[in-house]
Amino acid sequence: MIEVKNLSKRYGDKRAVNNISFKVEKGEILGFLGPNGAGKSTTMNMLTGYISSTSGQILINGTDVLEEPKKAKANIGYLPEIPPLYVDMTVDGYLNFVYDLKKCKLPRKAHLKDVCDLCKISDVRQRLIKNLSKGYKQRVGLAQALISNPPVLILDEPTVGLDPNQIIEIRSLIKKLGKRHTVILSSHILPEIQAVCDRIIIINKGVVAADGTADEIAKSITNEHKMTLRIEGPTHTASDKTLIADAIRALDGIKYVRADMEREKGIYDFDVETDGKTDVRRAINALCSENGWNILMLQLSDLTLEDIFMKITTGEQFAESEDSGKPKPRINLVFGSGENNKTEEAPAEAEDSAQEADEDNGGEQ
């Protein structure tokens, strides 16, 4: 549906977008993620033909945006970062204008009514756009993109300025739209991307840093699972630490064990990393019951999207590969088994990993 090949945009010496390639299939919802200034909006502006690319090719539905702009643009509904609203028009007047501008062939009254109902702006149709709240303006912007029912929707931060209820509404609307349209949306809000998108592309400094589902990206970044265990040993002294750590290390599929600080009196925490293939939790449980140890806590700490995002965009993960001149630090693993529900755990895990980082110095291996 959308095919982007080696897309670059240069402003003078600055490369805003550098050799980006990706594909979006029909009916897919793609999330564009990246810090401010990463090149998200620039890419979207190129996709919609607002600005031209320095090099590379964009095919929308097989049509080149630069060669046949009118035909390509007729396939796209675009909601830019700042909705292109004429503030001294009424909502109705504006939507009629867009209807004419896009040379829409659908029955005018019914189509505009559908779009307004979908975006929940039917009750403000006669009001001037300048008197609307930010949330309504955003929804009028979305309505504008939906007029003429384009097969491709490109939404640049569609939920900015909405209140939490509206955000949920818009998200479910986008999910609904994703069934009939191909959607690309950008956002800073990670849970949003995770909740709405089938696939994520993380852009950093103008290059694609990762491409895949949230789980795929998480797995490929870590390649293993981490967990934190709190085990009560027999003696309640420091000797427990080495005893337990050594015992766990002897299990199959364990990559790394580190005894952490004493969290409760005489009881230690252990950070365990597995190879990602073996589920060691049962083995550890068996080990402990054999020896009469008590597991007081077991917490999985897979990377959340926040962690991944931070890792990629702060560059610690890829510093090396960028320096060595590899084309792209690109990740595209085949996604294996289903993973637990990450969104729910996300806050707790984020806290946890922060704690871990703080207390790294206190632990010993």
Binding site: K73, G93, D100
Partner: protein, 234 residues
């Protein structure tokens, strides 16, 4: 093109610019009509048109200042440029909207003609000649105004700069008297908007002048399209 034309026409009236433009135009044309025609006892309307040249000079920038600068400032150009319309359609739609307001303003002259009809005989040939001269002048100046509006994001900058440029175009013809070389004199006379205009108001219908104004209009609309095009490539 139709959509953009209709929107701009609506915007001219909701923003009040059309009312200001029409009111000022009617006030001064009425003033000159009374002073030069009615009070002087002539039926020749040419002095009205000659004087209106200077008024139009300052009024047209008001009409054109926001046409493209505001789009850029409010980022509404993103909506236009990503819609399935060509740049030419966008520019021409806006151009024709401004020209329509201008024609509405200028057509007040037919009301004056009716008034004259009661008092004496109207010299229709001269009047229509003048009418078309003013139309051509507007067509050229509006294109210049829109071109300047495309260069900036600020309405005031566009207006002041347009006024300066149009005023210079007006003064330009008079520099012909100051140059010593014959060929330079000829070139300046050829390019003088005012001399060509006055020629019309004196009842001379010069086809090259018609072409001169029309090609100016075409050229500046073309430049405007190029400016929009270039902005995408920079």
């Amino acid at each position: 093109m139709g959509a953009i034309y209709r929107r701009e026409m609506g915007a001219f009236f909701t923003s009040g610019i059309a009312y200001v433009f029409l009111a000022v135009f009617y006030f001064f044309s009425g003033y000159f009509f009374y002073n030069e025609v009615l009070a002087s006892g002539y039926t020749d309307t040419s002095p009205v048109f000659q004087n209106m040249f200077k008024i139009v000079l300052f009024l047209i920038p008001i009409l054109t200042m926001r046409l493209l600068s505001e789009e850029k400032k409010n980022r509404t150009d993103q909506g236009l440029l990503t819609a399935p319309v060509g740049l030419g359609e966008i520019v021409v739609g806006k151009y024709l909207a401004a020209l329509t307001i201008y024609i509405i303003a200028e057509s007040i002259i037919f009301v004056y003609a009716v008034i004259l009809g009661y008092l004496g005989t109207v010299a229709w040939a001269a009047l229509l000649g003048n009418y078309f001269a003013m139309l051509l002048l507007g067509a050229a100046f509006i294109a210049v105004g829109i071109f300047i509006s495309s260069l900036t994001e600020n309405q005031m900058t566009a207006a002041v700069f347009s006024m300066a440029v149009l005023f210079f175009l007006y003064l330009f013809g008079s520099t012909a008297e100051k140059v010593s070389k014959k060929w330079m004199y000829d070139i300046i006379k050829e390019l003088s908007f005012y001399d060509r205009y006055v020629e019309f108001t004196q009842g001379v219908f010069n086809l090259t002048s018609v072409l001169f104004y029309l090609s100016t209009a075409f050229l500046f609309n073309f430049f405007t399209v190029r400016v929009l095009e270039k902005r995408r490539w920079s």
